[in-house]
Assembly symmetry: C2
Homo-oligomer: 432 residues x 2
């Protein structure tokens, strides 16, 4: 069963959770002074409209017409019911998912990439830089910038550039320039190359290169795919659509589940529902953030100020963190390997409004293969974390004879992760 919305039914505003938080967010701190950072400093790397959204206290923010038109290439996305999975598990629970894998880059990421490209375009940006690991975020930004005639320059961790060519080629097909990092284009890149001409790179180094590049000109800006308030804001279209789709069915979910790396996929599906919980209209709503046990930010991190990047160049954010120098083991869910989480998500967790749990990658892949064989859709490893939790909840419902309605975010497909499936199916995958 699939529930569609027409283009006319697509939400025309994003939902901003900031005014609903039980207390204000602690401000980002300037890494140089330790004092709250001034918006002017951020203008060097982000365009003004995005900085305004970052600190906005308005509940609803209009989605520009140009963004809606590009969203319409794959949005509204279907809300689908996993009836075969319910039957296989023999559970009285009803399992629904929002299918964000139908976007051309294959994940939820273009929801913010398109918006960021648009605001950069109207602010005069000519080049957007970013970093990417395996390429999920980089391909979303390459896709988005194309529609606005903005050049996209992606610093891609060299080991992924060499070993995982698919998304690199996808970015190039969409016209992006993809640079293996460390590169000789920036002074920080040169430094690492001089130490080791074959340096495998890291996300931390790639971030430093992308930011240094953006700082070199007013016409070059930097773009981030998660963690920041404006990024999460753009993703709320997922949950807003899901609410409308549930309204058509006359039901409301009892549980909302999203996997979590930096927080954009989780926030996108959950924030519009969490609002109802905060307002007391849905006090019993359960919301789960699912993370890898190899990078257990919420479940084992400390709630304190920390840098957003490894090198300590970005503003300090108040969040659950494993330490900015924590290097997560190389699990296949590359999108969930972040030492911190979005400050708004962390505050909700600290206030007990959401719950978190962590899984090992072999049990996650076991759920992914089960889902693929029962429902036919191949989940990304990131998405499969949510699926593992959904299966656990559905089995609990079976034990307790509970007819809960479960919603999760099918955040991306696994077509570019088949080597990980191969490792799992052949028994070579290890828990780390």
């Amino acid at each position: 069963m699939k529930i569609y919305l027409s283009y006319d039914e697509m939400p025309k505003k994003w939902f901003n959770i900031l005014p609903y938080l039980p207390r204000p967010l602690d401000p980002p701190l300037d890494p140089a002074t330790g004092q709250p950072i001034s918006p002017e400093k951020l203008l060097a790397i982000f365009p003004e409209p995005l900085i305004e959204q970052e600190v906005s206290d308005k509940e609803w923010i209009d989605i520009p017409e140009e963004v809606l038109r590009i969203y319409s290439i794959w949005r509204p996305t279907p809300l689908q019911r996993a009836e075969r999975l319910e039957k296989f598990l023999d559970t009285p629970a009803k399992i629904f998912f929002k299918n964000e894998s139908v976007s051309p880059p294959g994940s939820h990421k273009p929801n913010t990439a398109v918006a960021q490209a648009y605001y950069n375009k109207i602010s005069g940006t000519r080049v957007l830089t970013t970093e990417t690991g395996a390429g999920q975020w980089g391909s979303a930004l390459a896709f988005a910038t194309m529609f606005f005639g903005i050049k996209c320059r992606v610093y891609m961790v060299r080991v992924s550039y060499n070993q995982k060519p698919s998304r690199r080629i996808l970015m190039q097909t969409w016209g992006a320039e993809v640079i293996p990092s460390p590169s000789d284009r920036t002074s920080s890149g040169k430094k690492f190359l001089s130490q080791n001409p074959e340096h495998p790179g890291s996300l931390g180094i790639a971030i430093s290169e992308a930011i240094e590049d953006a700082l070199s000109s007013d016409e070059i800006k930097y773009s981030l795919g998660s963690v920041l308030n404006h990024v999460l804001l753009h993703q709320t279209i997922i949950g807003l659509e899901a609410k409308k789709q549930f309204e058509k069915l006359g039901i409301y979910p009892d549980v909302v589940v999203g996997s979590i790396g930096g927080g954009s996929n989780f926030a996108g599906i959950s924030f519009p529902f969490i609002k109802d919980k905060i307002l007391g209209e849905r006090k019993n709503l359960e919301v789960w953030a699912v993370e890898p046990s190899a990078c257990p930010t919420l479940t084992k991190g400390e709630y304190r100020y920390d840098y957003g990047d490894t090198a300590g160049l970005t503003p300090l954010l108040k969040m659950y963190t494993l330490g900015h120098d924590f290097v997560p083991p190389p699990i296949h869910a590359g999108g969930l390997r972040y030492h911190g989480d979005a400050p708004s998500v962390c505050l909700l967790y600290n206030e007990g409004l959401i719950k978190a749990c962590a899984y090992k990658q072999t049990e996650v892949f076991s759920s992914a293969v089960l889902f693929a064989r029962v429902e036919g859709l191949l989940p990304a490893p990131e998405t499969a974390h949510a699926i593992k939790k959904v299966i656990d909840i559905a089995l609990e419902c079976k034990k307790n004879k509970e007819e809960k309605v479960i919603l999760f975010n099918f955040s991306g497909h696994g077509y570019f992760d088949l080597s990980a499936y191969d490792e799992f199916l052949s028994g070579r995958m290890k828990d780390v």
Copy 2:
């Protein structure tokens, strides 16, 4: 712009073009006797309901409820308008495409794979065998058999098995057994292996192995992904849905375009429209079959009886053929490298009811990259043949100031063909 149908609006019957053909098809001939083959002989490799469909003179054939339910995972597929492409080309033409790439295996192929798996299931088949090159068809059959508890055994050309692991892993994730061919599982495989233990294999050898396997037991049958009447029949759901979607818009296409390998993608989109042309209701409808100039079956082949396979084991079919021993150069549109075409398509071509044209692969990839950059969707190389023709027609419309409505079949996505895009973008691609 996307036009959706609800599940309830999905066609409940397939359209059989056989009773509408201007003259009956010449019968398949037994390769041993040269006489029309008896249906009993075919029962050794195909189940009875599919043989009935192969020769049926009924215009409409019911789609079983179980098949409709599985179709609903991705069907009805959207009819989309390529407005950005129209604008980019500055053409008065309106360009629409039926998006078959949204199926989990990523192409139109599961339309018949699911139907074939269903009829085999109710006929007692326990194992389905097939051959695959790069894996498009094999992955569709792996996907389909999963829902009916049928084992799927895919003989995959060894060179693809080793060099193109993605679809092999996809098939395995869906539970199929994938065997590099030639293998030691069949006598024909053993013969080739004894000549060369590292034999790279060919589609002809893989077909021989899959058929030999099916002949070894009553519970094992063979499945083919194109060419045969029943396969084309199952694909007509594409064109039937498109007709309903156009009805919602109150328009009717002037031109229908499909790329052609064996004929299933082309027939799927065009047969329901060709009926109107045959009936005289749409005399001016133009229908184009687009093939690679490296394998120019319709444009340069002879219309005569020929074997369906390379080894000469299958029945002889009356078709346009380049000769069953013609070995097409290794172009990237692997799905279009077939020496013949479906007999029904060939008859329509011979009667002047459809037209054909051929393109070189570099001009095809040039159109594919243009489409990806303007519309955001990444076409399979097979699909890109149709896109090249659509662009040519749209530019002609511009010159002649004609507002033609063009429909084409976006038969599959190119996520598993990125190495070919890499070759094109880097200038390494040659015309062959």
